[in-house]
């Protein structure tokens, strides 16, 4: 029954361990707090950008998982702070003795598990963003004109505000607007010959123009914004071919949003990785400290040398003991009956 990974811990190294653990625990608390802030920020961003992601997208699961994982890491850090401080003070340690064991199990299983899940999501989900954005943006652009259709009446405002805030135009470029009818039929003059021609020449009866909405305009352009007749090089006299891109925003909203969300997910993922490492270190340190102090019988200031270990015996022995203990717990009835019968027999024999 050899202990797994034993470590000799006389008084001085024990104190060093406790102090180092205190520092690491505060770092873990900080990391947990940062994760809470970052995932909260990502959740708020997703609420604004929710219309541009396809409803089937699983991406919001990442900040939600990270939020819970961050909270658990924060809790683990606080436990570590309290336990390491208590281990240096003989009066404070006794209440921690009973609590530390279950807390370590909960921290490893719950906290570790959550962090691994969150890390996995952080690695896997950003890949699905591409398709989700493609679908979401396509739907939003198609419904731009539907300002009176219930359920889609906000699309125009949201797309305009997206293009204004993120400095982008269309899905991959301004030409995307040429393939979508973004002027509502309600504002098209049916008696205008040009309108009738355009609608008739289109297979689906859509009114397509080579123009873009005002929100594509780039304020950095030196000339007032050119929104119409963009594919006609003679449409606007005095158009300066040396500066073609300054008139409208050059980037497409797909690329901009993808980069933005992937950056946020990447930051969150790296913070989760750091927290995972810190949590593993803190839990290891707490386990060694706990077993070392158990060896002393809970007397903190004892000068004796003790051993800290990870597990009291190897994995197989541990499983065997756990199985036996579980078995004993499941067979109480036959065990209790004989002791119940024995004392009356003794009484009879005495009498």
């Amino acid at each position: 029954m050899a202990p797994v990974l034993p470590l000799l811990l006389p008084l001085q190294p024990r104190i060093r361990l406790a102090q180092g653990l205190w520092l690491l625990s505060w770092l873990l608390v900080l990391a947990g707090g940062l994760i809470l802030l970052c995932s909260g920020h990502l959740l708020v961003q997703l609420r604004h950008l929710g219309t541009f992601l396809a409803p089937s997208c699983q991406f919001p699961a990442l900040p939600q998982a990270a939020l819970v994982a961050g909270a658990v890491a924060l809790g683990t850090g606080l436990v570590g702070v309290g336990a390491s401080r208590a281990s240096l003070n003989a009066a404070l340690y006794p209440p921690w003795r009973g609590v530390l064991g279950p807390m370590l199990v909960a921290g490893t299983a719950g906290g570790g598990g959550l962090l691994v899940i969150a890390l996995g999501l952080a690695l896997a989900l950003p890949g699905s963003l591409d398709e989700a954005l493609e679908e979401g943006l396509g739907t939003a652009l198609a419904h731009y004109k539907d300002t009176e259709v219930p359920g889609h009446c906000q699309a125009k405002r949201l797309v305009d505000e997206l293009q204004l805030r993120y400095h982008c135009c269309g899905r991959h470029g301004y030409k995307d607007w040429f393939g979508v009818q973004w002027v509502s039929s309600r504002y098209l003059d049916p008696s205008d010959q040009d309108v009738v021609d355009r609608i008739q020449s289109n297979v689906e009866g859509l009114y397509l123009t080579d123009g873009v909405p005002f929100s594509c305009c780039n304020p950095h352009s030196p000339r007032p914004c050119l929104q119409n007749r963009l594919s006609d090089s003679y449409g606007h006299p005095l158009f300066d071919p040396r500066q073609p891109n300054q008139n409208l925003w050059a980037q497409g909203c797909h690329e901009v949003l993808l980069e933005h969300l992937q950056d946020l997910a990447g930051t969150l993922g790296s913070m989760l990785a750091v927290t995972f490492l810190l949590q593993a270190l803190v839990l290891l340190g707490l386990r060694y400290l706990q077993t070392a102090l158990e060896g002393l019988g809970g007397v903190i200031d004892g000068e004796g040398e003790t051993q800290g270990y990870l597990f009291a015996s190897g994995l197989k022995d541990m499983l065997k003991t756990a199985w036996l203990q579980g078995g004993v717990a499941c067979r109480p009835a036959p065990e209790e009956a004989p002791p119940g019968e024995a004392p009356p027999k003794e009484d009879l024999s005495e009498a």
Binding site: L164, S184, R186, P213, P222, P237
Partner: protein
């Protein structure tokens, strides 16, 4: 007849000193808050100095920054004094400085109150500079190739988009200035030539606005040109159309933004002022009660603390007399010197 006398035994004095020590450190935090509020306001004013003619008054943020720094200094000093007040030996060092220090604290509180009032009262000057600055900004909107003004178009566009406003008082301000540069006008077109000829100053004026005036909440694509011509657009009536462009003028929008900023800063400063007044009163009680104790040689005895030794009118009279004595004191010394010299000569 002291003002607001309170009896203090040793325990009460110790509690007062400890409480004051804690309050002083919170007050240092409050001083940092005032400092950062002033800094934030200064940065916000700087950001928009282009549309304020670069002549906006920085009095409010500068005074907030100054008061923040002073508050930190005074309150950390007061914290040190309160910490030492529990030890008679250390307190003896501070004793001669306490009365002038309290006078400075009272002065500081008065100035802090005045600064808080200024936060509420100085928006009038801002309105004027904004009006002037926006007018000039719109005039230079088209000068995108004039060095020194080439950024004005971008500034005004971003301003109108961010603050959801159009023009100085409304979108009609754009009808009165030429905001399209001559460089982009086709002078071979008859329409352009007609417009310029029909204008007295030879300017190209349109009933149109830049794209940044457009309101994204409008159900129809933005109508920027020929705004007052109902027949130019299908199913359009410019008198009843409210959602097409931003209705508010940028002067009102910016003014309301800065007013709300300064009002909230004024409220925070007033609350901190109340906190500082409480600290000064507590310090005064501590000083008077400790002074009464250090005369007899029993540090544990009871003593009384008060705000003023005599009632308010008597204190005011005594203050005036001491000021007069200061003036007379020089005279008396001069006479004494003359009298001294006269017997010597005589």
């Amino acid at each position: 007849m002291a003002l607001l006398k309170v009896k203090f035994d040793q325990k009460k004095r110790v509690k007062l000193a400890q409480g004051l020590w804690l309050m002083n450190w919170f007050s240092v935090l409050a001083g940092i808050i005032i400092f950062s509020l002033g800094l934030f306001l200064k940065i916000e004013l700087r950001k928009r100095s282009d549309v304020m003619n670069n002549s906006e008054s920085h009095f409010v943020p500068n005074s907030l920054i100054g008061m923040g720094v002073l508050s930190c200094v005074f309150n950390s000093l007061a914290g040190k004094i309160c910490y030492d007040a529990l030890d008679p030996a250390k307190y003896a060092r501070w004793k001669p400085w306490l009365k002038p220090y309290l006078a400075i604290c009272v002065l500081f509180n008065i100035v802090l109150f005045l600064v808080a009032l200024c936060c509420f009262l100085l928006r009038g000057s801002l309105e004027n500079t904004l009006g002037q600055g926006l007018k000039n900004g719109m005039k230079y909107y088209r000068d995108t190739d004039t060095p020194g003004r080439c950024f004005m178009k971008k500034t005004i566009d971003m301003l109108q988009i961010e603050f959801k406003c159009c023009g100085n008082n409304g979108f009609r301000d754009w009808f009165e200035i030429q905001w399209i540069s001559n460089r982009y006008l086709d002078f071979s077109s008859k329409e352009v030539k007609d417009r310029i000829k029909s204008n007295v100053d030879g300017r190209y004026l349109v009933d149109g606005v830049p794209f940044s005036c457009c309101n994204p909440s409008s159900p129809r694509p933005c109508i920027q040109y020929q705004i007052t011509n109902n027949s130019a657009h299908y199913s359009y009536d410019h008198q009843t159309e409210e959602l097409n462009l931003w209705v508010r003028g940028c002067r009102a929008a910016l003014l309301s933004y800065y007013s709300s900023l300064m009002n909230s800063m004024g409220v925070v400063t007033l609350l901190i002022w109340l906190f500082e007044v409480t600290i000064t009163i507590g310090l005064r009680y501590l000083q008077t009660s400790l002074d009464r104790v250090s005369n007899p040689e029993e540090p544990e005895s009871e003593s009384e603390g008060w705000l003023l030794e005599k009632s308010v009118p008597e204190t005011w009279k005594a203050f005036l007399e001491s000021v007069k004595k200061l003036g007379k004191g020089n005279q008396v010394e001069a006479e004494g010197a003359d009298a001294g010299q006269a017997p010597e000569a005589g």
